[in-house]
């Protein structure tokens, strides 16, 4: 009997509303509230009407005084509008890490370092209720399905920090939500009845798209707060004076491609074996006229070239890298031999971009660059010059198999990826033993993982440039270490909710059931084991760097950034 296919309704954008309990009454109320009351609903297309955006992409939250709404350094995918009550933003100095549920940064002292010699005899996953760096001045309460963390001593915070009150009608969190940047400030509720509308990024993106007022408001904030300093730090703009830089900042367009929730989508596609470049959103197409350079602000993009019936990857670009400069600089210098984009640029997962128009590049930016900083002319005519273009050179250096492997598995996201050279690795497991010794007898990675050629990417936290695991942690337990930016988990404030575990696309986080000093499971009042999320912390508390890397006798293991391929090329050099 032939198999009959399972027929399902095609998944739609709003199959899962942000708040399934959102009512029509609440939506009516929102539509009567600024800024939605000022929006022209007719400008929204039929498939994404304003009303449906509010119904499906937003939710109303209520906070009590002192409850933290957003934490500085956290990654979030939503913005907030204050509907009633007040919130307070902490300006200077920043709140102490312990007040944000985080581990106090710093290394272990000499005694704690030496104590590791005998700590190896402790039971696996021993959890002391007196964790060093355990939070103080922070409480937690359960509110419906969510855990709310609150500051226990708000007056003291107000005394010791410069803060500013925000009241109804104020917006915050929109830049972090749209550009996938960490939150720049901590904001907590300043009244017992603070009512906020949380809008997830998809809704915010559509609101911006169809409402000129919101678009110009967010665009202005973005240009003022984030853009100027970013452009100033970008090498090709360093020769511009302030007036020229302001002109560039004014003309820059910003754009987001792909999907914020790429990790879930990626997991699904990877399981189905259908991760293919042809399906990724095109940012710039091969053969298109170059109407601007593309600066990758966050996320990643794939540089590809048509090959046979598909696309072959030549390179990938991460934050700070530029696409299209070669072609635009060529056209500026050789007006008679104008070239189009030589390659395609496609969003991998999620990509936030800045586009500097060609006109401005030709008028201001390119004339400011010294000749030595201008890219070489594009060699277009096939056969005229057989030299390899810079984009394709990377492919030649690392090899096509490795490049496709790194791209398809999204390993470029790692800033401290555990790379193993199988030609050198004797499988001695010294790295695993070193990791276990450094973490009280608990190894925090698996010396196994996907491989291509002589390269293996072990199953260890990569400390991603885009740490999707950090989105949604209710207590701030998973966070970036303030100095070097490692992603770490504070066991003292981890409540075992599995948010990070579920978000990690690389399965690098494990949930463990913790034990007391006798090796007995710790349980809650309902006798359920208490779980904590664990992962590689890059030996952030130890001197000397990651123990795994230092322990490899054959130099076969390295922790390296794969955000660009230069370190890997250098490391693998034959």
């Amino acid at each position: 009997m032939p198999d009959t296919p399972t027929i399902l309704e095609r998944p739609q954008r709003w199959d899962a509303a942000f708040d399934p309990d959102m009512t029509e009454t609440v939506v009516d109320r929102l539509l009567a509230t600024a800024p939605f009351s000022r929006m022209n609903a007719e400008k929204f297309p039929q498939r994404t009407p304003l009303r449906e955006i509010l119904r499906n992409d937003s939710r109303v939250l209520r906070f009590r005084k002192g409850e933290i709404i957003v934490r500085q350094g956290d990654y979030g995918t939503s913005a907030f509008l204050i509907l009633s009550g007040a919130t307070r933003v902490v300006l200077k100095p920043d709140l102490a890490p312990s007040l944000l549920g985080r581990q106090a940064p710093g290394k272990k002292g000499i005694l704690r370092t030496l104590a590791q010699i005998w700590n190896g005899s402790r039971p696996a996953e021993f959890f002391s209720r007196k964790q060093p760096g355990q939070s103080t001045g922070l409480g937690a309460r359960q509110d419906a399905d969510e855990v709310r963390v609150f500051l226990q001593d708000v007056p003291r915070v107000l005394d010791q920090h410069r803060t500013e009150q925000m009241t109804s009608g104020d917006f915050f969190g929109e830049i972090a939500a749209l550009s996938r940047m960490p939150r720049t400030s901590t904001i907590f509720a300043d009244s017992d009845d603070a009512e906020l509308l949380e809008i997830r990024w998809q809704g915010l993106r559509d609101l911006m798209k169809y409402d000129e007022g919101l678009r110009s408001h967010i665009s202005r904030i973005y240009r003022e707060r984030a853009l100027a300093s970013y452009l100033r730090a970008t090498p090709i703009f360093q020769h511009l004076d302030k007036a020229q830089l302001d002109r560039v900042a004014e003309a820059v367009e910003f754009s987001t491609f792909g999907d914020y929730d790429w990790s879930g989508e990626y997991k699904r596609l990877a399981q189905a074996g259908s991760v293919r470049p042809e399906k990724e959103p095109v940012i710039a197409g091969e053969g298109d006229y170059p109407n601007g350079i593309v600066l990758v602000r966050a996320g990643f993009a794939r540089v590809s070239q048509k090959f046979g019936g598909g696309e072959r990857t030549l390179n990938y670009l991460g934050a700070g890298q530029i696409f299209g400069l070669n072609e635009i600089a060529h056209n500026w210098r050789s007006k008679d031999a104008v070239v189009n984009f030589q390659f395609s640029l496609r969003a991998i997962g999620y990509t936030h971009l800045l586009i500097v128009p060609t006109r401005l590049m030709e008028e201001i930016v390119l004339p400011s660059l010294p000749k030595s900083e201008l890219p070489p002319l594009v060699e277009t005519a096939k056969g005229e010059n057989d030299s390899t273009p810079p984009e394709a050179a990377v492919r030649e250096k690392v090899g096509a198999e490795v490049l496709e492997f790194l791209t398809e598995n999204r390993f470029f996201n790692g800033t401290a990826t555990m790379v193993i050279d199988l030609d050198r690795c004797t499988r001695c497991d010294d790295c695993v033993r070193a990791c276990a010794s450094t973490h009280d007898n608990n190894p925090r990675f698996l010396r196994h993982g996907p491989s291509a050629g002589r390269l293996m990417i072990a199953n260890a936290c990569m400390h991603c440039a885009d740490p999707v695991c950090m989105i949604g942690c209710p207590t701030g337990a998973i966070h970036r270490e303030s100095f070097a930016g490692q992603v770490v988990i504070n066991p003292a404030t981890c409540i075992g909710c599995k948010s990070c575990f579920n978000h990690c696309p690389y399965d690098a986080i494990r949930m463990v059931e913790v034990r007391d000093e006798r090796g007995e499971l710790l349980v809650d009042q309902e006798m359920k084991p208490i779980a904590k999320a664990t992962k590689c912390d890059l030996c952030v508390e130890n001197y000397g760097g990651p123990a795994c890397e230092r322990a490899c006798p054959h130099g076969a293991l390295a922790r390296m950034s794969l955000n660009n391929l230069d370190p890997l090329v250098k490391w693998l050099k034959l």
């Binding site: 010699i117 030609d423 001695c428 010294d430 033993r433 070193a434 001197y543 000397g544 230092r550």
Partner: protein, 271 residues
């Protein structure tokens, strides 16, 4: 030049210079009255540095430098210490059972170290080339799973071919029952698996369609099992040499301590 070649050339260069220096000093000073004490202490110091590498390995959480650097020092100091040992022996054969035992221990420790170095440089590349990376500790479970699959194919409820069942009982049951061909895998010989596959191919010629399908699947399982055996053989070798090198080192240290006691206990008359 890549970092491994750089390590090799700088290590060899340092060893040659140090070795030449030691030989020159030996030629110049070996007539000194307490020369054997001098070379003995130098040898002991070399052995001490070689031994504390193991201590470094046991304290990975302390900032004691990279194990890779330690290993490079261990390798080239090992070569140099071998030369010191020959100088200490004054390039003559040892005599007396204790001295012979001590010298044999030294030779075995050095030899096992050199064998380990050779294995560490050759076998990983062979494993990577063969592919099918597997964790050593998981091999028995994977082997069991392959055996179960093969048994189901040949002898299970759905298997209806007495010819295949008979072949399985005669030829494949033993092959799937445990690790096989360790030495041949180390010698990179594929003779046993090719012979098995050839026999399966022979069987295929006289089979019907259903049996051919079964034989195809069995051949794939044979290849997988052979790959698993290959990984086991090479990974086991990479692990086992240390089980020779380290216990012998401890024995050598005990004999060396006894040698020190004997030398200082009985050297009064010799002076």
């Amino acid at each position: 030049m890549n970092r491994f070649r750089h390590q090799l050339f700088s290590g060899l260069g340092a060893s040659v210079v140090a070795g030449a220096g030691a030989l020159w000093l030996n030629g110049k000073f070996n007539a000194l009255p307490d020369y054997a004490f001098l070379t003995g202490w130098a040898l002991l110091a070399g052995m001490f540095v070689l031994t504390i590498y193991n201590v470094r390995k046991k304290l990975p959480f302390l900032p004691l430098g990279k194990s890779e650097t330690w290993l490079q020092i261990h390798i080239y100091l090992g070569f140099f210490t071998t030369l010191l040992f020959l100088i200490h022996l004054n390039f003559r054969l040892p005599h007396g059972w204790f001295e012979i035992a001590l010298a044999w221990l030294f030779v075995l420790v050095s030899g096992s170290g050199m064998a380990g170095l050779l294995f560490s440089r050759v076998l990983p590349r062979r494993l990577a080339t063969r592919g099918g990376e597997v964790i050593f500790e998981k091999i028995p479970a994977l082997r069991h799973a392959l055996k179960t699959q093969a048994e189901d194919l040949a002898l299970g409820m759905d298997a209806k071919s007495p010819v295949i069942a008979d072949f399985y009982a005669r030829r494949l049951a033993a092959f799937f029952s445990g690790p096989k061909n360790l030495w041949l895998h180390l010698a990179e010989s594929r003779r046993p698996v090719n012979a098995l596959l050839a026999q399966l191919e022979d069987l295929r010629r006289f089979s019907n369609d259903a049996e051919r399908d079964q034989i195809g699947k069995l051949s794939a399982l044979v290849r997988q099992k052979d790959g698993l055996d290959y990984h086991r053989a090479l990974q086991l070798t990479l692990k086992l040499w240390l089980f020779v090198h380290i216990p012998l080192t401890y024995s050598l240290l005990i004999f060396t301590a006894a040698h020190l006691v004997f030398v200082f206990g009985f050297s009064g008359g010799a002076r």
